[in-house]
Symmetry: C2
Subunit: 179 residues, 2 copies
Amino acid sequence: MAHIKLNNEQLPGIVGLLNYRPETARPLLDLAETLLRGPSTLTSGEREIIAASVSYWNQCHFCHTSHAAAAAAHLQSGINLIDDIKAGLPNTPVSDKLRVLLHIAHQVQRNGKNVTADDIAAAREEGATDAEIHDTVLIAAAFCMFNRYVDGLGTWAPEPNEAYLEMGERMAHVGYGKY
Amino acid sequence: MAHIKLNNEQLPGIVGLLNYRPETARPLLDLAETLLRGPSTLTSGEREIIAASVSYWNQCHFCHTSHAAAAAAHLQSGINLIDDIKAGLPNTPVSDKLRVLLHIAHQVQRNGKNVTADDIAAAREEGATDAEIHDTVLIAAAFCMFNRYVDGLGTWAPEPNEAYLEMGERMAHVGYGKY
């Protein structure tokens, strides 16, 4: 049961929280919409993989599985992507640029100060632009917030990957502005 | 020097980042304004102390010092509050409720899952409401984002506490909507 009264079984994970406090839900959803579905030279699939990876590193089951399902919906890759993200994407063809950006995201997840000049140089070598580096850092940072919000209030979430497929389709194709 | 081109010496800490990407600046500032200055039964001074404490635990000098200066401006407590927050507020009269909420914020800073039912029960014993617990968790989570954003992009920030006093006054009394 969540730490505060949320009607969380009907509204799992962050959904009950967004419903509980609409004043903070608005900027949180606007941020997610801009970062994950707004104009960018990174595809939405790539950005959802970054979001899902950070959530997995923070052990947030709801955020990892829902955003991995959104990535699968964008990439039409099937449900196996959800577990492949946990393993570091051994079975998913992704660009070398995304792999170095995922390394930067992992550094940010631990602490912002962990990002080194060498990490940035490696990203530039793979063609990453300032805007892509900026957005990678902010996506990673934002999911360090969303993950703590969801878990810090003890919200409930369904266990099996299959329970997230419809949610992932909605996140990918309807977006974050329509809650 | 910051990891991306920001004109950061003129626009220290997060300011250069907000200026660099206005599309994400808007929801980030709206979130800060609502959480730190919007209607709440926690005072803005108390909420800025939570924000500054989390930032100190994350070792983010810019966010800690600027939000501690904002707390000092709200509480008219003088510059010593900035260092007193680092030490756990031994010389600042704060309520027992704020002390247990700061403990919850510290748990969230490490990982959302660290918040226990006992932590929540201790907060309720000091009179904390659902809304106060919610906002404490979200403020702590949000500063885990802001801190990683500011440090993950390697932004520059002035060192001495004195350099933040005017900024703190502006954050407290003008707010976060006017950048």
